[in-house]
Amino acid sequence: MNELLNKLAVAIARGKVNQKSPFPPDMKGEFGADELTKQALEESVAPAAILNDGLMIGMKTVGDKFESGKAFIPDMLIAAKAMNVAMVHLKPFFDSGEVELKGDFILGTVAGDLHDIGKNIVRMVLTGNGWNVIDLGTDVKPEQFIETLKEYPNAVIGMSALLTTTMMQMETTTTAIKEVSPDTKIYIGGAPISQEFSDKIGADGYFPDPNKFAKHLASVV
């Protein structure tokens, strides 16, 4: 059983979606994340164990490789794809509350700004770390964050901005959110942002590196 979860972790890390998928070539014909997850559930492995000791271990492996310069975003994306397929099988257990994700995370690039590459990486890393990420896309107005927060009242919020002219939207948005929900944690990022700026606008922190951010989140939530 332990071995099964190991196999699952490897399938995730290598981005092996299912038996049919041709990628990666050296795993041709082998079971992928899809089959292995199903099998684990059939063998009555606890869904929480599948999530923590299989899927997230796999994501961590590729994340670590990425951090040490031995993998790139495409590798992480392919792993994330495999993970998504596996998550479909776990969904009933999340819905029933039997397994819990780390929490909800509302993410978006602020109003007037269309840069989303950085934001997408944050999404990927947080998902891989066991967060339920609600991605509002780009050009997100303050009201959209607030509306979504009503649906996910305990969510943490993350905003991205790449333009010096839209940075100021982070202030507007932070103020608006904190007004209706003072306890909501708001984190910001993007090339022009700094910790000073975060302090100035009353956000809860700035992180240039999504992996460090994920570690920070794990430590505070």
Binding site: I78, G137, M168
Partner: protein, 456 residues
């Protein structure tokens, strides 16, 4: 439509900074590509919102930046220069604002020319608003209207050169890049982006002609520079970013097929290929754009530049003065050095030093090596249509990298080497026809783009 079926510059020794077979006359007596490299200074606002209320402050910043850079141009006695006014989103969104700033800058340039006699010109880069919709409609809708109106009003307000960093095809390329899907990259650039460029630049050229000004050129910034930035941050393989550069050239060439005559945009590192093919002058940016982005192309970017740019710097205070003035100084000295070399017959050797200094350190720099540039350019002009040209450029770029690795001109990590293998496989799997390639895009990224947006 202009057809480029042979190279204007076919010997790499003739691909040189400052010298262009078809120089461009514009603005206040400036001739770009006439044997000298001129600074192209770019500047932008510091952290602030742009609204009706802050427009006074916005104008104050642009006036101040102009005062400062003109003082430096005079102090250093530059032989000529270009100012680029690159619009921020609200300035195209309310095109009147962009026009107002255009007029302000142009007035300063005119006064300065009368006072000092120093030639100058104003490039206005309108913001491409058309990706506001998801998927973008590109040919219709309010963002498209505003973008085109931006050109019209700025031409009226005094722009000498029109440019844009257009975004057609980017919604697909972004995805393909992230997945490292080379087939998707080639198809999005060679088909989608290429079709959008042709559509857009026909209209820009029409506007430019109507006002007797210059249809400048575009940049694959959102494509290949995004790849380069991400590679620089360890997010993508550098070899993929290098190939993406070559792949972007046919797309940017489309502007010239529709009547653009240069100078191409500073951040278009595909510029040397454009110059070899068309003979039109190009703008480039390298180490002296360190204010705007880090780069593996610091020196080599200058090798065939006709304008030398800092890409963009905010109006913040440094110890010397404001940053735009500081970067005007930097560009002016760089140009002085290149021009001294050109004037004393040492241009080629200066160029070779610039090239040799970067190539061993970066596979992306290799793509700008004049010999490689000529090879890629040839592969483009001997093919017809965006897709075929892009495939050909990619294949030649790939073998140039392979050759450089084999000859130990440069070396790459093992992780990067794995990507060479992956890309080789991908190259052999490219569909023969455009429709096969479009099918690939629809299958993989059908949810993010619309065929109609490309007239397909």
């Amino acid at each position: 439509m202009k057809i480029f079926d042979k190279l204007t510059i076919d010997k790499h020794e003739e691909l040189l900074m400052g010298i262009s077979p078809h120089p461009v006359k514009c603005g206040n007596l400036l001739t770009i590509g006439d044997g000298k490299v001129y600074p192209e200074i770019n500047f932008t606002l510091p952290t602030m919102l742009i609204t009706q209320e802050t427009m006074g402050e916005v104008r104050r910043h642009y006036s101040e930046m102009m005062t400062n850079i003109l003082a430096r141009a005079k102090a250093l006695n530059v032989p000529g220069f270009v100012v680029e006014f690159e619009q921020l989103p609200p300035m195209t969104d309310t095109p009147e604002w962009g026009a107002e700033i255009t007029e302000l800058i142009k007035n300063e340039l005119n006064k300065f020319h009368i006072e000092t006699g120093i030639p100058n010109a104003l490039r206005v880069t309108v913001l491409d608003l058309r990706d506001a919709d998801h998927p973008p409609l590109l040919r219709t809708g309010l963002p498209t209207e505003k973008t085109l109106k931006g050109f019209e009003l700025c031409a009226q307000a005094g722009a000498d050169i029109l440019s844009i960093e257009s975004v057609g095809g980017k919604e697909v390329h972004d995805q393909a890049l992230m997945y490292g899907d080379l087939y998707g990259i080639v198809a999005s650039l060679g088909i989608l982006a290429h079709r959008d460029m042709s559509w857009l630049w026909k209209q820009i050229t029409e506007i430019a002609n109507r006002y007797g000004i210059i249809s400048g050129g575009d940049s694959a910034c959102g494509f290949a520079n995004t790849a380069m930035q991400l590679a620089g941050q360890g997010m993508l393989p550098s070899v993929l970013a290098a190939i993406d550069r070559a792949a972007s050239a046919p797309r940017s060439l489309a502007a010239f097929e529709q009547g653009a005559v240069g100078p191409s945009k500073d951040c278009a590192y595909e510029g040397p290929i454009i110059k070899a093919i068309t003979g039109y002058p190009i703008s480039m940016e390298g180490k002296s754009a360190c204010c705007a982005h880090f780069s593996p192309l610091g020196n080599i970017a200058a090798a065939s530049a006709d304008l030398w740019s800092n890409e963009s710097v905010q109006n913040v205070r440094l110890l010397s003065g404001n940053a735009p003035e500081a970067f005007m100084e930097l560009l002016s000295y760089d140009c002085r050095l290149y021009n001294t070399a050109l004037d004393s017959g040492n241009g080629l050797m200066m160029r070779d030093m610039l090239v040799k200094s970067d190539v061993p350190h970066s596979v992306e720099a290799l793509m700008l090596d004049p010999e490689v540039v000529i090879d890629i350019s040839k592969s483009i002009v001997t093919n017809t249509g965006g897709y075929a040209q892009t495939k050909a450029a990619v294949a030649i770029a790939f073998s140039a990298i392979q050759k450089a690795l084999d000859n130990n001109v440069l070396s790459i990590s093992d992780t990067e080497k794995e990507w060479m293998t992956k890309m080789e496989t991908a190259i052999s799997s490219f569909g023969e026809t455009e429709s096969e390639a479009v099918e690939h895009l629809q299958m993989m990224y059908g949810d993010v783009f619309k065929l109609e947006a490309y007239g397909l």
